[in-house]
Symmetry: C2
Subunit: 399 residues, 2 copies
């Protein structure tokens, strides 16, 4: 029997999906499971988008341009103008989800063996894409005590080697919900200029900011337009995760020309996804007002509930729809599994994501979980009650 | 300014798309261009498929399972049974186009530096995906004289090294249209068993066979179910290239589990594409009868026309909708560009794909072009006339 690749063996399994069998077990024993483990919003896709799909009059589902249809890219220019980012259709490669934008950026800018610095905890799949591209993640610590703010500049300086080619951030952050300040972005600007690095910024949660906070994009940093690569996606913005549409944006012509070659190899992004993306930009502003209000309330419930629990701490996230909380537990993987296979409160339990999956350093995240507040207020309150009661009786509780 | 990757620099630009600017020039000077250069069929997507899309009642465009929706995979079992291939939903990973199936197969089965043997000419993007995965293509010669049949077994034996991990074929073949016989597949079976290799088979043109010829799948070869990985796509079968839906199939559990990890990293294949794929399997058989009849006629026109032209040779392809022809020219890249930027016959010209892009060995394919017979009979006849007249006056004509 032929042997599979070491790359495949080393490829991390999804830290979230590995709990799925236990969640199915919970359901089998009649326990209702609240899913706070995934980034799948319960919010409806805007109605105008679904109407557009229903009224399609396409005769042949053709390949589009490898960089995306020109009509969608032109529409994206309009969207970005609205959020104060100035781009042209030529600065963009429409991708199959934000996932592909990450992969194209890594393949275009870094060679196997090159290093990318990422503050951890970070979106788990950055690990997978790095491994696929053969590049090396150099994590630096962001910590729960200050809400996972940008690590001090010295930490970046210490991590930089001759193989360092890029720094990557996610803003607002998945999994922490942290929203980077203008000052933090300024310090990133200085360091990428000083060391001639690429700066990848994943801004898929741009619209999800709370307490009147403003989102600042790396696209508006001065003098680094040749360094910056913006990674984006419509998945969360319009609750259209299954459309699989993202975009890679850069003012660096060489980056775009190179990414286009990777894009040509896979022919084109999905047709219907591009129709979804183009129409989504017509979504009335009221949609976001409502959605944001809802998420704001949810965030408050999560943060307030957890901070009231004995021995727990949850910093208040400025954006996205995630929070990372510190719990008095021995091992977050064990705890999250225990909630599913051994616990219930009034016939209910909660599924959380162990934070270990969001760290690339071994041993970090053992007492942290990520909570996606993607459920309605009632379910969310019930979930918090389950968590509270679970923590009281969990055998691996630390005091 | 930061420097892009050597991988990106080495990534081949699409051999077909690089002619696009010249085709646009031709249109600007008022010349009508017949596009025989691409694999985009003009055939309409089945009506039942488009109706299904128009009647969608989805509220939230959610992520699907990373391996594809279970309902689509179950439906695929039904499709494969119809073409005499016995599989289960657990043998499948639904992919974003056949492209992603190729990439997953390469990443799962081969490590950077490992070698894959592919008879050339081959589908140009195999080169791109190999480069992305860091694996090395070892081409072996198939030749126009015998219609691009499988190279002799000795050629495989000669190419095998300790780094060889896989053999890849495309059946029926893109770009040659060659349909492998049962005997040829049997010899592949022996060689993969002898050397413990993976056998990747791209069978996206399975339905397109002519003159009553039968398609044989590697899935039905005895004793190699742990070696075989089937790569498939709905793009050509149902004229749904933009849906971006393919599938990777293997009875080798380790291959599927590994490919699933790559699939989880990119979350899920596109939702609407899966709806298209599932409904497409309900397409009445009459659709294929008509389509096949049409392609059959087209193939005959192309082959007969070219073989009548002075100094030209086009073997009769047994399948797909491509043919590779040998022309009395100095350089196929130059000739194809010349057709667009310097030639016209009665205000018309033809766009062909230089065969150089389908070879990984330098210097091969210089006197060959690929013709995709994706236009209606009238346009196809006009295209052949353009080619004939072009060859008469081309300055780089060889006698």
């Amino acid at each position: 029997m032929p042997v599979i690749s070491n790359k495949g063996k080393a490829m991390p399994a999804s830290p979230i999906r590995k709990l799925v069998p236990f969640s199915e077990e919970a359901k089998k024993r009649g326990v209702k499971v609240y899913h706070l483990n995934i980034g799948q919003p319960d919010i409806e896709t805007p109605k105008n988008v679904m109407d557009k799909i229903r009224s399609t009059d396409i005769k042949v589902i053709e390949y589009s341009h490898s960089a995306g249809t020109i009509s969608y890219r032109k529409k994206l220019v309009e969207y970005y103008k609205r959020v104060n980012i100035d781009v042209t259709p030529e600065d963009m490669i429409v991708t199959t989800g934000g996932s592909e934008a990450i992969l194209f950026a890594m393949n275009s800018c870094l060679d196997p063996g090159d290093e990318i610095i990422i503050p951890e905890p970070f979106y788990a799949n950055y690990n997978g894409f790095s491994l696929t591209s053969g590049i090396v993640v150099k994590p630096i610590d962001s910590v729960i005590e200050n809400g996972f703010a940008l690590p001090p500049i010295q930490a970046f300086e210490d991590a930089i080697t001759p193989r360092t080619k890029a720094i990557m951030i996610c803003n607002p952050n998945n999994p922490t919900g942290y929203l980077y300040s203008k000052e933090e972005l300024e310090s990133l600007r200085k360091i990428v200029l000083k060391h001639d690095l690429f700066l990848f910024s994943d801004e898929v949660y741009r619209e999800f900011t709370y307490d009147g906070r403003e989102h600042h994009s790396v696209m508006n940093l001065e003098g680094v337009d040749q360094n910056v690569v913006l990674l984006d996606s419509i998945s969360k913005r319009y609750s259209a995760c299954g459309a699989r549409i993202g975009v890679l944006i850069s003012k660096n012509r060489e980056v775009i020309c190179t990414a286009l070659k990777f894009a040509q190899a896979r022919l084109s992004p999905p047709t219907f996804g591009q129709i979804v993306g183009e129409e989504a930009i017509n979504t009335p502003a009221s949609y976001f007002t409502e959605v944001l209000e809802e998420y704001h309330k949810r965030r408050n419930i999560v943060v307030e509930s957890i901070n009231k629990m004995e021995g727990c701490f949850c910093p208040e996230p400025g954006g996205a729809f995630y929070a990372v909380a510190r719990l008095p537990i021995d091992d977050s993987d064990r705890f999250c599994q225990w909630l599913l296979d051994s616990f219930s409160f009034e016939g209910q339990t909660v599924m959380l994501a162990p934070a270990t999956g969001f760290y690339s350093s071994k041993g970090r995240g053992l007492d942290e979980v990520r909570i996606s507040y993607v459920l309605n207020l009632t379910d969310l309150k019930n979930s918090m009650k389950c968590l509270e009661e679970g923590l009281k009786v969990y055998p691996g509780r630390k005091t």
